[in-house]
């Protein structure tokens, strides 16, 4: 299964990853080889088979809509690479 460097670059952008040319080429080879192996799944007829996303039948786990203590603001901000005591600070988004 061939995957082109262009497709890798496009997927990398979706995944917010930056790869140089050599990395894109290597990734195309490696991911291509893996996808070739995965093509094996096409040996199976799965017409009408329900997909499984959860091995156990679990229904929505709800709780009462009651406010309970959660992480204090200072704790929540503590690991921030850049924060101003109220929020995480990032480079300008718009403009």
């Amino acid at each position: 299964m061939q995957i082109t460097p262009e497709e890798i670059a496009k997927v990398a952008h979706l995944a917010r990853l930056e790869l140089n040319q050599a990395e894109v080429a290597q990734m195309a080879d490696q991911v291509g080889a893996i996808l070739s192996y995965i093509d094996k799944l096409n040996e199976l007829d799965t017409q009408g088979v329900q997909p499984t996303t959860h091995a156990l039948a679990i229904n929505n786990a709800f709780r009462d809509d009651v406010v309970i203590p959660s992480l204090p603001q200072a704790e929540a901000l503590r690991n921030g690479p850049s924060q101003n005591g109220e929020a995480f600070v990032v480079p300008k988004i718009i403009g």
């Binding site: 990853l17 996808l35 199976l44 088979v49 156990l56 690479p81």
Partner: protein
């Protein structure tokens, strides 16, 4: 036998009867770490001061006659679990500075029982790997032969238990990551049923596959650890309200009435002859203990790897989107736009295997490919689930090898990611079906490398697995063997 080589249950007896203090035990374990860590390299972060203060608190509990089996017992924790105030890296540079503001539920439960944490141990980055060679903080060595891999992704857990650097450990298993390193390092490892143990505070790799599991020196210890960490947690929406029995009650040797299935697909042509011989000998022991065996088939076993290596990377691509340099972890401070910050932080922080799986997963979920890959793999997953349901109609549990061969040499498969994936064939379907499974030592290769024996069971039948495992362990009599590490061993 040195204290650091003993089991939880042996040490609990010494602690309970005041023949030993928790502080003394912890100090001996820390000395052992000094002795062998230069050869093994299991730890990412050691917590010596914290361990001593936890041991002091445990001694206070013991003095009052409080404290269950884990009180005062030194444990290592795979660096995939959040430990409040203690750095948690997930084996990745992208979380190098991350200090969690909360404990994972399993950690809270261990703390409540007075357990002692000696450190956070090595793992493949974001739990992606089968050799622990993808750790950004160094590769741990197999205590039985330091030129060989420990297995992964809970390699540090397995190595630290086997080498006496802790009495037991917690790891995580998404495609075999507790069972396989346990097998390679000659210890017991269990993956509980999906939903049995809380995932709150477990850094997520693949949310429908991940489970926390213990690695221990014997089966009784495994039961004790499961007792301590399992059970419903309202903070994990996939946690199941299933009763938690006392799993030590399952530990009897008599297997009369037990029906054990032997799945033919796990004994194919590619199986190493020494592994085959050791596992077949194990099966003979189970028959002698009274079990009846029956041949079964899990026809879709050969498609497990292909299905897993779409589903797990797809889920991972979503779970790892949170590592964006905004709220925690590494950020490239030189980036001038938000997009550049995301892309460069992630690309500089993640290792090659992680990037490969994110790319694979993103591709499989992307528009135009979703049906061909993710949906298809999820349909095959259904077929695998059905295989197990049919098999369990005629047996109580399934027995097999854990791995196709013993631990390979360090570096032998580096550069061939697909070859590494293919070695997961025997553990991977268990996670797709959400089933419990246990791995325990059943022999050694001629070169002295451990061989593991796997038992898989229906949902919530950990008791059955522990019963069969205990019986086998008693029959084989090898659970007291320890690796011949320079640094002194009885």
């Amino acid at each position: 036998m040195e204290l650091y080589d003993q089991t939880i249950h042996q040490l609990h007896e010494l602690l309970r009867t005041k023949q030993l203090s928790a502080v003394e035990l912890t100090k001996q374990v820390l000395t052992r770490i000094d002795q062998v860590e230069p050869q093994i390299g299991a730890f990412i972060t050691e917590c010596r001061d914290l361990a001593i203060s936890q041991a002091e608190a445990a001694d206070r509990m013991l003095a009052k006659g409080e404290g269950g089996p884990l009180c005062g017992i030194p444990l290592s924790i795979k660096d995939v679990l959040c430990t409040k105030g203690v750095r948690t890296t997930c084996g990745s540079k992208i979380l190098e500075p991350f200090v969690p503001p909360y404990d994972a539920t399993v950690i809270t439960r261990l703390k409540e029982q007075g357990a002692v944490m000696v450190g956070k141990v090595s793992m493949d980055e974001f739990a992606m790997g089968s050799a622990n060679e993808n750790c950004a903080y160094g590769v741990p060595k197999n205590p039985w032969n330091t030129k060989h891999i420990c297995g992964g992704s809970s390699g540090g857990s397995a190595a630290s238990v086997a080498s006496g650097e802790c009495i037991a450990s917690l790891g995580s298993d998404t495609g075999g990551s507790v069972r396989q390193p346990a097998s390679h390092c000659g210890v017991v490892g269990m993956k509980p049923t999906y939903g049995r143990v809380s995932r709150f505070g477990l850094l997520a790799f693949a949310s429908s596959l991940d489970q926390v599991g213990p690695l221990t020196k014997d089966v009784r210890d495994c039961a004790l650890m499961l007792n301590s960490i399992g059970g419903y947690d309202p903070r994990d929406s996939t946690s199941v309200k299933e009763t938690m029995p006392d799993f030590t009650a399952a530990l009897t040797s008599d297997l009369r009435g037990m029906k054990i299935g032997i799945p033919s697909e796990y004994f194919g042509a590619g199986l190493d002859p020494e592994v085959r011989a050791a596992v077949e000998n194990g099966i003979t022991q189970l028959r002698q203990a009274g079990a009846e065996t029956v041949e079964v088939s899990l026809p879709h076993t050969e498609y497990g790897i292909a299905a897993y290596y779409i589903i797990a990377p797809a889920e991972a691509s979503s779970n790892l989107a949170r590592y964006d340099g905004v709220k925690y972890g590494y950020r490239n401070q030189d980036a001038t736009t938000l997009l550049e910050m995301y892309k460069t932080s992630r690309s500089q922080g993640f290792g090659p295997e992680v990037k490969r799986r994110i790319i694979l997963g993103t591709y499989a979920l992307s528009s135009g490919y979703y049906d061909a890959y993710y949906k298809k793999a999820s349909q095959v997953r259904t077929k695998i689930v059905e295989d197990y349901q049919k098999a369990f109609a005629s047996c109580d549990a399934l027995v097999s090898p854990v791995t196709p061969a013993p631990a390979w040499r360090l570096g032998e498969k580096a550069g061939d990611p697909l070859a590494v994936y293919l070695s997961d064939a025997m553990t991977i379907c268990t996670n797709l079906a959400g089933l419990p499974a246990i791995s325990l030592p059943c022999g050694f290769s001629a070169a002295g490398l451990p061989i593991g024996f796997q038992i898989q069971g229906p949902h919530f039948q950990e008791g059955t697995l522990l019963k069969i495992a205990y019986s086998l362990e008693q029959a084989l009599g090898i659970s007291q063997r320890r690796p011949p590490l320079a640094g002194g061993h009885a």
